[in-house]
């Protein structure tokens, strides 16, 4: 049996190898940051949805995406565009992406979107990525990058971060 992959599928495969610069354990595809890929006469157009408007990694992602797409056989030019339409939300993260985030030590989003449950706007219970306990407390809705919040696990006494 012969498997036929289209040029667009090969572009998607190449994008699956582009890591998120701030969380290299996951790819831009895992994160749901690729809105669309279209190839026409060797020109590949890719639309990227940044997770946060102020993410300083946006130019790096654009560069890495363009390089990966241009390395695909049959692509002569990559046109990468950033868009906020629709806004990126955490429900765009794939199942694979959630598992990889957890392995990386980041609590994945709850999957309920940005529903703000507690007074400081974080999910009331974030599961500790290290020990799995739900006995955690929110420390700060802001963290080391715009997309992360800080938590503390009462069970294993570890601080951890959650993807907002």
């Amino acid at each position: 049996m012969v498997t036929v992959t289209t040029l667009e599928e090969r572009v998607w495969d190449a994008l699956a190898g582009v890591p998120d610069p701030e969380i290299p354990a996951v790819s831009v595809v895992d994160m749901g940051m690729i809105r669309e890929v279209a190839v026409s006469e060797g020109v590949a157009s890719v639309v990227v949805l940044p997770t946060f408007t102020g993410c300083p990694a946006i130019p790096i992602i654009e560069r890495d995406v363009a390089a990966a797409v241009e390395s695909v056989d049959g692509v002569s030019e990559a046109r990468v565009r950033t868009s906020f339409d629709p806004p990126w939300t955490d429900d765009r993260i794939t199942e694979d992406g959630r598992r990889k985030l957890k392995e990386f030590g980041l609590a994945p989003p709850t999957g309920h979107g940005p529903v703000l449950i507690t007074e400081i706007g974080l999910p009331a219970v974030a599961r500790c990525p290290f020990c799995g306990s739900g006995d955690t407390r929110a420390e700060n809705p802001f963290g080391p990058t715009p997309c992360r919040a800080l938590y503390y696990c009462e069970a294993c006494r570890n601080p951890f971060e959650q993807f907002k």
């Binding site: 946060f52 408007t53 102020g54 339409d85 806004p87 703000l116 007074e119 400081i120 715009p146």
Partner: protein, 280 residues
């Protein structure tokens, strides 16, 4: 190219850039480390929002977003004066943070239905992020209101000082009539101001902070804090709105700024100005 679009985006971007710069001044010297992280992160968000607004404007004019952010003379900036005021103490910082983010939410809610699809999408994206700012500000205001009287008094003083300045956020932008007519700004500034006054008045009522004066906040009211912590409307007659009137801060949307901004601008643009045309 729409002049109204560029004018609106410049005002929006300048508000976020200048206040973002003020927030960033807490990096390394906030009252505790979590707040150091919080204000640094909020600053990064606001400056990122400015970059996004400037990018749409730059695409329309052919300039670079960086030239818009750092390459203009002070008189070409269109932010409200409240954004340029120095951080002062923690109470002033929080009062401004709370009032600004409430005003910004009113504005973003309106822009979500802007006739310019890219601006409307950006407003929806930014508003989701700003929710974290609003909740951060709300949490602090509630904490201080429920705390000891000294903090509460300082907060009331700060809110009364910033409130009138914050009204300057709703000073109409240049070309506003055209922006409204084109659907770029679906809600005129006057209507947004009314929504802001109602919303913050209700919120302050719920917090148990004196609000009678806020509700009378027309363009001519100003407030003073009494030693008992109540807000008293100044009844010495009408106060002309200008950047030179103490406690009032209009004129920013027309490029009139205070000496505070000259100092901020010097710092904010020094690297850009020192190496014209450099590629980083």
């Amino acid at each position: 190219m729409s002049k109204a679009l560029v004018s609106l985006l410049t005002a929006l971007g300048d508000d976020e850039l200048v206040l973002g710069h003020r927030h960033s001044e807490w990096t390394g010297c906030a009252p505790h480390m979590e707040e150091d992280v919080a204000f640094s992160s909020i600053a990064q968000d606001e400056i990122g929002h400015a970059a996004a607004y400037y990018s749409i404007a730059a695409a329309a004019t052919g300039e670079s977003p960086d030239a818009l952010a750092f390459g203009r003379d002070p008189g070409e900036y269109r932010h409200a004066i409240v954004c340029e005021r120095p951080n002062g103490d923690w109470a002033f910082t929080l009062a401004r943070h709370w009032l600004y983010d409430n005003a910004d939410d009113v504005r973003l809610a309106a822009l979500e239905s802007a006739s310019h699809p890219e601006l409307a999408a950006l407003a929806r994206k930014i508003r989701r992020e700003e929710r974290y700012h609003l909740i951060h500000a709300d949490t602090w205001i509630k904490r201080i209101v429920r705390g000891p009287v000294e903090g509460r008094t300082k907060l009331i003083d700060a809110v009364s000082e910033v409130y009138v300045q914050a009204l300057g956020l709703f000073e109409p932008v240049e070309e506003e009539a055209a922006a409204v007519a084109e659907g770029l700004l679906p809600v005129p500034s006057g209507e947004m101001l009314a929504r802001f006054v109602e919303r913050t008045g209700n919120a302050l009522d719920e917090l148990g902070l004196p609000t009678e004066s806020h509700k009378s906040a027309g363009d001519t009211a100003r407030f003073e804090a009494s030693s008992s912590g109540d807000l008293i409307a100044d009844d010495r007659g009408e106060v002309e709105l200008s950047s030179t009137t103490p406690g009032v801060a209009m004129g920013g949307r027309a490029g009139r700024h205070t000496d505070d901004f000259k100092e901020l601008w010097d710092v904010m643009t020094v690297t850009y100005r020192s190496h014209p045309g450099a590629s980083w």
